[in-house]
Amino acid sequence: MSVAELEAREVGLEGPSSGLWSEAWRRLRHNPSAIVGFVMVGTFVFVALFAPLIATHDPLEQDLSLLNGGCCPGPSAEHWFGVDALGRDLFSRVVYGARYSLLIGVVSVAVGLSIGLLIGAIAGYAGGWVDSLLMRLMDIMLSIPGLLLAIGIVAALGPGLVQIMIAVGVTQIPIFARLLRGSILATKETDYILAARSVGIRGRVILSSHVIPNSISPVIVQGTLALATAIIDVAGLGFLGLGPQDPSTPEWGTMLTDTTRYLQTAPFLALIPGAAIVISVLGFNLIGDGLREALDPRFRGRA
């Protein structure tokens, strides 16, 4: 342990200790909405990870004889969610769809988060013209409405699963960048940081023991919410026909496009994948929301 850190400890300038986290966890556990959210997300992740074991059929296997000249047989003992326009088991497709949504969500957010945090850190720390330039860039990106920006990127990259992940990820960069930069700036100005610096504690220490821990909570909250947005945005792009180009892919958003024409005869084809999207997204939103309230310092100390 270096002298600086010893001194930091003495002056009581430690960053948020385990105290904050354990208290946040405690509050989260008592928040009914958050619990519901955990259950939803837990189910979603579980289904996504263990899809091959949970699915009852091969999601790509067609059985046209089930259609009997029409469309489409609804839920039955053999096919729990019914069968889609190409005779494929809907339950299995929804289950495998969870994999795609999880993958898409995670990758997009990873892209947005990593690049965004990098930019935000550079801007926040460098300050000056670097900060201005980067933030102007972020402003320009934010000046194009999210979905349109994503559509624009997909138009340039061509349609496809990977491309929409990149596109959605890119739209999230400015949010994370601003978040981290704001957090850094806010922390830079607080009294205890000023005090720490006046005492002579080095920037790197301040960074690791104060700035980063203070910024983590908003990033986590935003990350969870970003996952929710990513899943919805990708579904939107899929709905517009910009998603996976193999139409048999069991991705929830693309599954919704094909089904508007069957609303009158087989509404479950749209309702079930739609409900799946809502549940997973809602789950992430509930958790993110609960986290936000749990980690909000203003609520600390209140019951």
Partner: protein, 551 residues
Amino acid sequence: MRLSRFWFVFPLAAIALAFAAAGCGGSSKSGSSGSGGELVFGTAADPVVLDGALVSDGESLRPIDQMFEGLVTLKDGTTEVVPALATSWKADPAGTAWTFNLRENVKFHDGTDFNAEAVCFNFDRWYNFKGPFQEQSATYYWQTVFGGFSDGKTPSLYKSCEAKDDHTVVINLTKPSASFLGALALSNFTIASPTALKKYGADKGSVDEETGFKPTGTYGTQHPTGTGPFKFVSWTRGDRLVMERNDDYWGDKAKLDRLIFRPIADNAARLQALQSGEIQGYDLVEPQDIKTIEGDDNLQILDRPAFNVGYVTINQKVPPFDKIEVRQAVAAGLDRDAVVKNFYAGRGEVAKAFMPPSLEGYADDVQTYTYDPAKAKSLLQKAGVQMPLKVDFWYPTDVSRPYMPDPKRNFEAFAASLNKSGFKVVPHSAPWSPDYVGRVDGGKAGALNLIGWTGDYGDPDNFIGTFFQQPTDQFGFQNEEIFNTLNKAERETDSAKRTELYQEANREIMKFLPGVPYVHTKPALAFQSNVKGYVPSPVSLEPFSIVSIEK
């Protein structure tokens, strides 16, 4: 500002009121005077331009059919040629000079007289198209029927037009033709007012290779002037095209007062608009909606006689599809029965050939192919190709065709059966407009693609002649035997011999397998039950002048 606690009540109340009123509010109609009434028809897209000479798509031809007439037309619901603006006709012994006696006392919508001069003006206008107007995207039908233009770059069937007197016109051809008269019934050869054509700059504009004629004059967008039972009122793109009854029409006047075409791209939306009464009819009903409509007492389904073919192109420029065994493997790898049985709600029949059975020249004894994955694999082995054979298979998006209501669905089913038969399908898609058709025609849509054809007139030349009479980029092959048979058949004037020749051609084609036809369908139209008198036609030539709305 003083905010009462209950300030939000007002907006809430307003919204609640809106819902309540929406429930009991009647629909507001514009004043419909006269016994005829008004009919709103839902179309799939806007017309391109209202000039028959420069369009080839069904949505443009539909309003053109109502406002314009040609020398001859087809009897309602059939492919039988009957008089229209010409009352009788005769060909000279050589078969190259056709004399038409024209109907008297006919006027164009702008009041000018219809006469032989007007007829010749129109024909000469088409013959004299130059430059970009000679693109297939602009003057497709002229080129299909007549071939070339006045500049002589390509030989033309048309030679000249003479106005012998006001009511007699002679059209001179360069050689005898058996299909000339039938072709004249095409809406592309309807007669327009020369005065209007000149006054509003009908020929002003440019031609886009992909999407066709782009007018800068206002003839084709604001002043289409024909002789038909309806005349033009207004057209707002994306909104509506309005026509009204021509009270000076020479024949039976239209029963309706006004006719409105409204483009609604989404099929499901068209159905909903019909159910709610916003439109009184629409075309291209999706198979799965037919039961819904038939089950509704307020609605009715009308059948169009089957006159189309849906098929899978095989582009032989893509190796190894130039090998016959590979093509036979494709035929054995497509589960056509399952697709036709399940995706067409009982309105499709499996196609054995590239033309519908109702047409003369159809041969029942052509070579047939059945779905047999094992056989497909052994054929591929015989051909010496590595299995699974990767194949680029294209399908169109954003479209619904009479022979292919849901292209993606057909594609997925076919891809699955091909994948079981030793192939590995690589999916590709493009929007129908503007890309897909151009790609298919140009041979740039992979080794296999989904496409089809609805007949324009009752002649086998319109089907297999169009596809296979000469080398094309789409199919990418050279087969002199087939070319010769079809060329001979087209020129043959004896109808029995002609039928035989076309039958022979069909046999040759199905043996050579340049593609795999899979369905002929009976497309359906939907109307409200009180719409009477609509007669569906195999070539979609359907006049609204005989339609009425029962109160």
